[in-house]
């Protein structure tokens, strides 16, 4: 269920709180938000992707809180470039579902990260590529946003990041 800090902070709990506020911020911009989990259930990577892939015109955002990293920073990631194989039927291979959407994912990632960098000193200015399992099977513009970290001494330091992260994501999505 993800990272756990020395003060007992659990990634899964913090992410739910982040997600709730991100949901509000996106709804305020007029977007419909469909969460891939509501509580402590743990759907598989494929189940989450399937949920996203069933929507038309969606973007996919996966939220994480890291065990390490410079506290108070936020990073946005997109799937690292992988060679795409064309299926003769014209269908997108499940394992390479993200490949056709990479340019849009990068654009979304840069927009979101630019907003995060304004709010959280020490955060990078642009999106970074990484081979993230959840993104690979998602057939939509898809990013991962990771906040540092569960290892903070004071949980309130993480909680204070929530509004800024939510606002940054909403503005990035609205801009794309």
């Amino acid at each position: 269920m993800g990272a756990r800090g020395t003060e007992g902070v659990r990634e899964s709990d913090v992410v739910l709180q982040f997600a709730a506020q991100v949901r509000q911020a996106l709804a305020a911009q007029g977007f419909q938000v469909i969460p891939t989990r509501e509580a402590n259930e743990n759907p598989s990577f494929d189940d989450r992707s399937a949920r996203a892939n069933a929507q038309r015109g969606a973007v996919f955002i996966t939220l994480h809180v890291a065990s390490t990293g410079l506290a108070g920073t936020a990073h946005t990631y997109v799937m690292a470039e992988t060679p795409a194989t064309l299926d003769p039927s014209g269908l997108i291979l499940w394992d390479q579902a993200q490949a056709p959407f990479l340019p849009l994912s990068r654009r979304l990632g840069d927009l979101v990260q630019a907003e995060l960098a304004k709010r959280f000193k020490g955060s990078p200015d642009s999106v970074q590529p990484a081979p993230i399992r959840q993104l690979r099977t998602t057939a939509a513009p898809a990013i991962a946003v990771e906040i540092s970290s569960v290892s903070v001494a004071n949980r309130a330091d993480l909680d204070r990041m929530i509004p800024g992260v939510a606002d940054a994501i909403a503005r990035g999505v609205a801009a794309i």
Binding site: A3, A66, A130, P131
Partner: protein
């Protein structure tokens, strides 16, 4: 060797370490990975968990290297995209700098393919190590110039192989 940069959080920095290395690419890679696992002098620069072990390593004819680590490798890595990527990148870049025969890297955990390293990084695909054509450069050799604690750690890792 590529370890974490204490000055620049979330990045790797190359550290020049003199090691006696085999000319055989498989043995050479094993020696390098065991050195990575033994860790740097500065524990803050460590990228791989100290309780992990390399169970097996081999290079397929197409240049794909397969590194099989103990379960501790996955269980003890701090969960998070950045820390998981640093771990894999430190292995990948160390191999790229020293074993030109390795073109791709697959990571197994206790002989099994797993979906992720610690919840985020995709281990079902091979990582690109080098785009270059293997040149078969001779291995560097030389006297060990390691500091005391690191040399002790490497000697301990090799202990089972001593005659």
């Amino acid at each position: 060797m590529y370890w974490g940069s204490p000055a620049n959080d979330g990045t790797l920095e190359p550290v020049l370490v003199e090691l006696p290395l085999s000319n055989d690419p498989t043995l050479r890679a094993k020696e390098l990975l065991n050195t990575l696992l033994a860790g740097p002098v500065d524990p803050e620069a460590r990228t791989l968990p100290p309780d992990a072990a390399l169970l097996a390593f081999y290079i397929l004819p197409d240049g794909t290297a397969v590194a099989d680590f103990s379960e501790a490798f996955a269980n003890s890595i701090p969960s998070g995209i950045e820390s998981e990527q640093l771990a894999v990148d430190s292995i990948r870049r160390t191999l790229e700098a020293n074993v030109p025969q390795v073109r791709r890297l697959r990571i197994l955990i206790h002989g099994q393919e797993v979906e992720t390293l610690a919840g985020h990084l995709d281990l079902t695909q091979a990582f690109q190590v080098s785009n270059a054509t293997p040149t078969g450069k001779p291995a560097r050799s030389g006297l060990s110039a390691l500091t005391g604690p690191l040399k002790k750690a490497i000697d301990k890792a090799r202990g089972s192989k001593k005659q």
